[in-house]
Structures are given as structure tokens and as C-alpha cells.
């Protein structure tokens, strides 16, 4: 690359990074402003204050925020785990076996994925009330599966398809049962795919707002995005902007940690060296 090209790449990259990170920087800055300081008309807080964090962690909003955090974590992790497990088997079958209705499964999954959430949430509300799932963890895990499962199946079957068939046949000739071949050869090779899928699924569940606000009513199951909408200011004349910003920053942290943690596992090209070269 010529120097000129390099410079252009750097400038381009910098613009994109600034564009993407600006809202985050902004929300961090707001979360550090005292309530009276929010409308100060400048980007940085006049005085860095931790009041907002205190409010949501120990103060008046903590009753709302902390249970919601617990709910969000629990519900999203369970939904992710279930959806990854199911998707793993489904994707394996789709990538490996020839059975009637294979295309139907894939297109149904796609149809479910593009179905607008808002149009099913009201009937779901009624059904959940009837059968006692309203305001419970399973009551959210189930709809979250409908969000995460289709995309999980799609991404994972793409990953499984990349793994050479012969890998598994070789294992069988070497003396493995179908299950051993799957567990000892296919799963390790598919691990990056599984992690990527898990992260995507987790984000989808973590970011959901509509189901969260409609299908819950108390801190028994209310997730963070819904709880944020219910924050109120210290008095009714005050906006809860600062507290919301602080909560938003806090819920972003697990997402960032997750990505950093698994980034190295998501390296593509693990299958390099399996075949000729």
C-alpha cells in the first residue's frame, strides 16, 4: 500500500469510529452530569458527578433497576443457551442430512425472524394472561426463543456447512460412533460458530423492549430495557435523563465484556489445515 492509500484508510477508519462511538461518548457524558447540569449546553459535564449511578444502584431507582438487571441476565442467558443448543442440532441436521422439508424449515425460520414483533405481542399478552405465563421468566424466555432461534439456526448452519463432511467420515472410519464424531470433531470445529451465534442471540434478547414492557408488570420478570422506560425523576418536574443514561451505560458493559471475552474464539479459519492446503 502506498502512503497515500494508508492515510486514506486511516482517515476513513477514524471517521467511522467517531461516528459509531459518538453517541456512546455522549451518553457517558450525560450519565456523569448532575441533574441541574444536564441542560448546560456543552458536551462535557461541568462537574463530574456520580449521583446518577448512586440513584440507580443504591438510591431511589435501585428497586427498579437491580431486579431488572438480574432478570435480564437470567432470562437472556437461559434463552441464549436453549436457542444455541436447539440451533446446534437443527443446523447440524440441515447441513448434513437430506430429509424432506429441509427447505421448509429454513424458510419458516426466516419467516418467523421477519415477522414483526409488535403484531404478535398483543395476542401473546392475552394468551399469557390465560395460561399464567404473564410476568414470569418462562413467559419472556419463550418469545425470546422465537427471536433468537431463527437467526441462530441460520448462522450455525452456515458454519456447519463449512466443516468438511469428510472430517466426520474420517472419524467414523477411525472408530467413532455418530455421537462421538459429532462431539469430538464437529463441535470443536464448530465452536467459533457457536460462540458467534451465542453472542448474536444474547444481544437480540438483551436489546428487546417490546416483549419486556408488554409481558411483564412487576420486578418478578421485568428486564432492563423495560425498567428504563419506567424510571421517574427525583421530583415530577425533573426528567430521569441522567439515571437512564447511567443505566444505559451499565447495561452496555456486559455486552462489551462479552465481545472482548469471546473475540479470540470467533477467529475464523480454524478449519485451516484440515484439508489439502
Amino acid at each position: 500500500m502506498s502512503t497515500r492509500k494508508k492515510v486514506l484508510w486511516w482517515v476513513g477508519g477514524a471517521i467511522i469510529v467517531v461516528y459509531a462511538l459518538f453517541p456512546i461518548a455522549w451518553i457517558i457524558s450525560i450519565s456523569l452530569k448532575a441533574p441541574s447540569d444536564i441542560a448546560n449546553g456543552q458536551f462535557t459535564p461541568t462537574n463530574v458527578s456520580w449521583d446518577n449511578y448512586e440513584t440507580i444502584l443504591t438510591g431511589s431507582a435501585s428497586d427498579l433497576f437491580l431486579p431488572a438487571l438480574r432478570n435480564s441476565f437470567g432470562i437472556c442467558l437461559i434463552a441464549t443457551a436453549i436457542s444455541c443448543l436447539l440451533a446446534m442440532f437443527a443446523a447440524y441436521a440441515i447441513a448434513r442430512l437430506d430429509f424432506p422439508g429441509k427447505r421448509l424449515i429454513l424458510s419458516t425460520a426466516l419467516a418467523v425472524a421477519i415477522f414483526p414483533v409488535i403484531s404478535i405481542v398483543t395476542p401473546l399478552f392475552n394468551v399469557w394472561r390465560q395460561i399464567g405465563l404473564y410476568d414470569t421468566w418462562p413467559g419472556l424466555i419463550l418469545p425470546y426463543l422465537s427471536l433468537t432461534l431463527p437467526i441462530s439456526i441460520w448462522t450455525m448452519s452456515a458454519f456447519f456447512r463449512e466443516i468438511p463432511w469428510e472430517m466426520e467420515q474420517a472419524a467414523q472410519v477411525d472408530g467413532a460412533t455418530t455421537w462421538q464424531a459429532f462431539r469430538k470433531v464437529i463441535v470443536p470445529l464448530a465452536a467459533p460458530g457457536v460462540f458467534t451465534t451465542a453472542i448474536i442471540a444474547f444481544f437480540i434478547a438483551w436489546n428487546d423492549f417490546v416483549y419486556g414492557i408488554v409481558l411483564t408488570s412487576t420486578e418478578a420478570a421485568r428486564p432492563v430495557p423495560a425498567a428504563l422506560g419506567l424510571f421517574s425523576g427525583a421530583s415530577q418536574f425533573e426528567d430521569p435523563t441522567g439515571a437512564i443514561a447511567a443505566a444505559a451505560v451499565l447495561v452496555t458493559i456486559p455486552v462489551v465484556v462479552l465481545v472482548l471475552l469471546f473475540q479470540r474464539r470467533i477467529v475464523a479459519g480454524l478449519t485451516n489445515g484440515a484439508v489439502k492446503g
Partner: protein, 418 residues
């Protein structure tokens, strides 16, 4: 170690296409059998049926005296080297080789000993802790072999194991495989479409065409006594020349003059209007370089040389000839089926490297009439095949092999000590 017997094996894929069609083949214990044929003739399918990765539509597969049609691959105890090696990229070389042993719950120190032994044989010692991704093509190939030899399998199956290597490495690995097989004495089935591999490695070679066996014989027999046009055209490089001919008296009239046949052979080919004479390139010679004593066993003719190729140790000349339409069509069909380059109606003849024959000039050639074959253009059948002589060649090859195996196994005993 075990013999492999196939009886009337048929394989039809889902679309009803018979990829393997009524194949019966007996592979003796310890034998090195080559499956060879043009692309798509069913070699891999047959191999995969032996190992159990493909269901058998009908027929019996008997390994070591036991019918294995319904056994899963892992219950057949065969080891296979795949064309693309199929190494496990997440495991080290050591674990790759040890994988079959781990699956059979072999104790750790036993695993270590056997893997180290295999690594010694294959010169993989210093690579045991590396991952396959970091190895060269030849090293990967050796790891795949290591995985195959590390356990006591009934037989080795190879599916074009060398086709991904460059020419030099291929030659090297070829001798290695041969040496290994002789030493271990394990029944081996080896799929290839490489002539050289087929001729040099195999005790016997099975030539397949469209899912059917054409001929099973030692390489020499295939070369000298092919059963039909297909085998004759497939084995040998450069390929056999096919000239149109008709019989007059006991002489074949060809574009290159008359070729005298002995009475017995003339009798066999009589009664057909059109014949194809098969002459290998090396049966020709520059007439001026032929011994006086040899001349009478062949015939001489004069022809214009189109192109010559001088390769240092040998020299080829291309001689165009005219052929009737029927023959041209037949030859085109054959060369298409053999996936060889378009066989033009020209003969490739091998002449001495010192010959002064030059392109574009008329030159006098001599051809050895003793070893030519005459084919029926309709059926492709070899009319002059001497089955007895062919069988003798295969018997000799079998004897050679016994000697080689003895030598390979008893290599440590000094000469004369027994």
C-alpha cells in the same frame, strides 16, 4: 489382516444411476490392489462401500470371511486415507494420529508408544506437537497415513492420496507407500487415476469403466495383453496407437503398409471388414537404426513426419494418417471416454534419441509386428489376446511379490543366514 471379497456389488444412487454395476472382485490377504479408471467410473464409490460410508444396493461385501454389508464403518476395522487427508485441525499431529487409539480406549503409555512408532516410520517425530495447519502438503499426507497405520486395521484404503501433491513429492510418497505396504503386509486398496501409480504400486490393477470391471490383472498383463480397446487405450503413456486395417490373406493392410500376421492370429481376426490395429509407440523404430537380425520380424514403411519431440533420453515422432469416418468416430469416442486429449488420427511413435529423423520430411520406419494387437472396432474386443501368456505374466508378478514381501520383512537377517 484380511481378504476382501466382493460379489455382484451394485450401487445405485438416489437418482437411480448405477455408479457401480455388478462388480465382483477378490482381493487376497496382503495384496495391493489398485482401482483405476477415468473420472466418474465409480472408483471412490466402490472404495466407500468397502469402508462402509456408502450403502450397498445389492451384492455381498465379505471382509475376512465375514459379510459386512450391514456393519457401520467403525465395526469394520479398516483404515482409510482420504483424498484431502481430512485431518482434525483442532488437534495436534500427535492427537490426530492417536485418535483411533483414543476411541478404542487404549491405555496412555500404549498410545504414546504406538504413535511414536508410527511417527518414526513416517519421519514425523519433530512435528508431533504441531497443528496440521502449519504443515506442508507432504507432511499432512504423512499424518493421514500415520492415523491409518497406528492401529492394527484389517486393510488400508486409499482414495487418490497423492493427487494433491506436486510431482516430485508424489514420486517420493509413492515409494514410501509401497515400502510401507510391503513391510506391514496389509491388504491395500488404492484408488487412483494416475497411470504411474497404478503401474508401479499395484500387485494387481482393476480397470473400471462406467461402474463395470474391464480387467483385473498385473500391470504387465494389462500392458501386454489388454482385453479390449478401452484397457489398451487407458494403460500406457503415450497411449497405444490405433490404426484402421483390413485383412488380406494373412496380412493386415494399414495406412502404414502391410503387416504380416502369423497364421494363428490371422485366423482369429478373419471374417471382419474393418479392424483396428493397436500398436504401442515403442513397437516402432527408425528403420535405419534397426539391427539386420531384427528386421524380418516386423515391417518397414515410409511416412511423412509431422512433428518430432526430443526429450534427451527418448524421442517421439507424430505421423498423421488417413482413416475412414467410422474409425475416426470410434477413436474420438474412446478418447473422450478416457478423458485424454483429442486423439487425432496420428500415430505417436517412439524412436531412438539419436535418430536423425526430422519433421516435415519423409522417413523410413520399422515396426515390430510380434506384439501388436487387433481389435474389433464394433465391440472393442481384443481379438488377438493370448490369455495364457497374460495369466503367466500375472503369475510371475505374484511370485515377485512374495519374494519382495519376504525380503521386506526379513530385511534384518543377513544374506545366507537362513
Amino acid at each position: 489382516m484380511a481378504s476382501i471379497e466382493m460379489q455382484h456389488i451394485v450401487k445405485q444412487y438416489g437418482d437411480g444411476f448405477p455408479a457401480v454395476n455388478d462388480v465382483s472382485l477378490d482381493i487376497a490377504d496382503g495384496e495391493f490392489m489398485i482401482l483405476v479408471g477415468p473420472s466418474g467410473c465409480g472408483k471412490s464409490t466402490l472404495l466407500r462401500m468397502i469402508v462402509g460410508l456408502e450403502d450397498i444396493t445389492s451384492g455381498d461385501m465379505v471382509i475376512g470371511g465375514k459379510r459386512v454389508n450391514d456393519l457401520a464403518p467403525r465395526d469394520r476395522n479398516l483404515s482409510m486415507v482420504f483424498q484431502n487427508y481430512a485431518l482434525y485441525p483442532h488437534m495436534t499431529v500427535f492427537e490426530n494420529i492417536a485418535f483411533p487409539l483414543r476411541l478404542s480406549k487404549t491405555p496412555d503409555d500404549e498410545v504414546r508408544r504406538r504413535v511414536n512408532d508410527a511417527a518414526d516410520v513416517l519421519e514425523l517425530k519433530e512435528h508431533l506437537e504441531r497443528k496440521p495447519a502449519n504443515l506442508s502438503g507432504g507432511q499432512r499426507q504423512r499424518v493421514a497415513m500415520g492415523r491409518a497405520i497406528v492401529r492394527q486395521a484389517e486393510a488400508f484404503l486409499f482414495d487418490e492420496p497423492l493427487s494433491n501433491l506436486d510431482a516430485k513429492l508424489r514420486g517420493q510418497m509413492r515409494t514410501e507407500i509401497s515400502r510401507l505396504q510391503r513391510r506391514l503386509g496389509i491388504t491395500t486398496v488404492y484408488v487412483t487415476h494416475d497411470q504411474t501409480e497404478a503401474m508401479t504400486l499395484g500387485d494387481r490393477v482393476c480397470v473400471l469403466r462406467k461402474g463395470k470391471i474391464q480387467q483385473v490383472a498385473s500391470p504387465r498383463e494389462l500392458y501386454e495383453q489388454p482385453v479390449n480397446l478401452f484397457v489398451a487405450g487407458f494403460i500406457g503413456s503415450p497411449p497405444m496407437n490405433f490404426l484402421p486395417a483390413s485383412l488380406e490373406g494373412t496380412a493386415l493392410q494399414t495406412p502404414f503398409g502391410a503387416i504380416e500376421l502369423d497364421e494363428a492370429r490371422a485366423e482369429k481376426v478373419r471374417g471382419r471388414d474393418l479392424l483396428l490395429v493397436g500398436i504401442r509407440p515403442e513397437y516402432f523404430e527408425d528403420a535405419s537404426l534397426v539391427d539386420e537380425a531384427k528386421r524380418p520380424v516386423g515391417s518397414t514403411f515410409t511416412a511423412r513426419v509431422d512433428v518430432t519431440e526430443w526429450l534427451g533420453d527418448s524421442q517421439y515422432a507424430y505421423i498423421p494418417y488417413d482413416a475412414p469416418q467410422a474409425v475416426t468416430d470410434q477413436l474420438r469416442e474412446l478418447s473422450r471416454e478416457l478423458d485424454s486429449e483429442e486423439l487425432r488420427t496420428q500415430a505417436i511413435v517412439s524412436i531412438d534419441a539419436t535418430s536423425r529423423i526430422r519433421e516435415g520430411r519423409d522417413a523410413e520406419f520399422w515396426l515390430d509386428a510380434r506384439k501388436i494387437h487387433v481389435f474389433d472396432p464394433q465391440t472393442g474386443e481384443n481379438l488377438t489376446r493370448d490369455a495364457e501368456a497374460g495369466a503367466e505374466l500375472t503369475r510371475m508378478a505374484a511370485q515377485d511379490r512374495v519374494d519382495q514381501v519376504d525380503e521386506a520383512r526379513g530385511g534384518a537377517t543377513p544374506v545366507g543366514a537362513g
